[in-house]
Symmetry: C2
Subunit: 309 residues, 2 copies
């Protein structure tokens, strides 16, 4: 294979009850990456379309992830990369994860799949580490495994692919302000009251149970964040208003997507999703902050090869 | 119905990764309670066989739980109770839960089932509160719902009955020393490092996933306690030695049962369970502390009516 084009979906990490461990990826929203073999060894970023990102591969998460890949699986040739960036960096829907996971996924395909899924997660995590200061694969895991994932352990990598209830739909509102993951980690406390840690773990376990049982009521009850939301919500404009209108419009629940500022809601079915999206958009009507809004089913496959144009 | 006899199984709470929320009950180990209608209103404890317990119903968890029941569902007649106590109080395998849940289960049957399962848990929790200072239903829930349970929420009560892999067997070693639940709560910290809280929640969620998937390897990996065991293990004689021999003999995992001193191991199948039990018993050979050992499958039904003799 000389060239590959991959779709790298956006993703929602944390999902209220699963800080740093739970995540899912979207179907209709994502970047594209084109990777070409080149004679010159190493990684060269040819172009970045859509959003401004460094073209120095040592400062670009896709380049960092590929270099980490090539350290373990050296190659006699190099790679040229074009990134078509549709997910805005700093949006909270896994922009850096899409770039880094998409890049190593593509390189692995070109080289004939030498790396395992867990290898790919590790390499992509190097990209994540560069932007957020911490290598957490909660956005990367669903991109590599597809669907809804629980990253049970990082060392060693252990990802559990969870079932996806058929009618589950995600709504994303992205207020156009940037929050650095690094900064959104700083507002968190180092310690958690035992009582809240227990409640949070029970909700995460309940959520997992709800996904297996296809039980939307249970999923709804478990979409609670006792630990992170109280601290991070202050960074997100109109957060509690968004949550309130989403819930009133019939959402199963609503919370911060990753480290924000995007806010996600989950719904049962597309009709409710549209209603929830409309109500959430209204919150920013006549507001000085612009928004983007996405509605998407959960993507069961994660990153995928698409036809080269 | 004038009289009822119920079997009230022993139970294991916490199960390493699910502090205060996870629990299962045993098949072959438990108390019996006989409850008879009486003309005189209120609760009278006629006899306690097996272990010394207060016969004053205001100081006996069975009496406390029944009185809590009768506050919500008053009755024109009273109840006489005989308790055949096989689970030693303070053993860590739900002795007080068996008495309090068994008592309200029986009274509810005699009165024609006016109370819901969640009501019964609430009444039984009053008994638990009396002995441990905190009303946590992690032992009571599996007795009322049967099997393996996740108590997702206490207020309101929300219990999720989890699937039980068919070959799952529990081994219990009960070193004959007494630890008051009250004391074993005192050694715990009020705050948990965020990092440990995340790991623990991921293991709990993984455990739930393992139960749904019938995945013994996953269950094994998740039987880890990052939060409670490091503090409570010092109260239990030979804890790390027991854990070591159990794991070496093929256990899926091993941890503190409830607040101890009992130690549980889970195994795949009876053969391994016997081997694990033998190895754990050897630790106490020539030891000045006596032990009791139980091997039991998980009891899918919880408390049940048995024929009156």
């Amino acid at each position: 294979m000389e060239k590959i084009r991959v779709f790298c979906p956006a993703s929602v990490a944390n999902v209220s009850c699963g800080f740093d461990v739970l995540g899912f990826c979207l179907k209709e929203v994502g970047d594209e990456i084109i990777i070409r073999k080149s004679k010159q060894k190493g990684v060269k970023i040819i172009s970045v379309e859509g959003h401004r990102l460094p073209s120095d591969p040592r400062k670009n998460v896709a380049g960092i992830a590929i270099n980490s890949f090539l350290n373990k699986y050296p190659s006699n040739f190099g790679f040229e990369i074009e990134i078509i960036k549709r997910i805005k960096p700093g949006s909270g829907i896994g922009s850096s994860a899409a770039s880094s996971a998409g890049a190593v996924f593509g390189v692995n395909k070109i080289l004939g799949d030498p790396a395992t899924k867990d290898d790919l997660i590790k390499f992509a995590m190097e990209g994540e580490k560069f932007v957020s200061g911490k290598a957490i694969p909660d956005n990367v895991s669903p991109l590599i495994y597809g669907g809804f994932t629980l990253t049970r352990s990082i060392d060693p990598i252990d990802v559990i692919k969870l079932p996806i209830p058929n009618e589950l739909v995600a709504v994303i509102i992205h207020p156009q302000i940037e929050i650095k993951t690094l900064h959104s980690r700083e507002v968190l406390k180092e310690n958690v009251p035992m009582e809240l840690a227990i409640k949070q773990s029970a909700n995460l376990a309940g959520m997992v149970s709800g996904l297996y049982k296809n039980d939307y009521d249970l999923i709804s009850k478990c979409l609670v964040d006792e630990i992170v939301e109280p601290h991070r919500s202050s960074l997100i404009p109109e957060f509690y208003k968004l949550k309130d209108v989403a819930n009133k419009a019939g959402a199963l629940g609503c919370g911060i997507s990753g480290s924000g500022p995007s806010v996600f809601a989950l719904t049962k079915g597309n009709e409710i999703a549209k209603r929830v999206a409309d109500e959430m958009k209204k919150v920013f009507k006549n507001h000085d902050i612009g928004i983007q809004c996405y509605i998407s089913k959960i993507n069961p496959n994660g990153i995928k090869i698409i036809p080269s144009k």
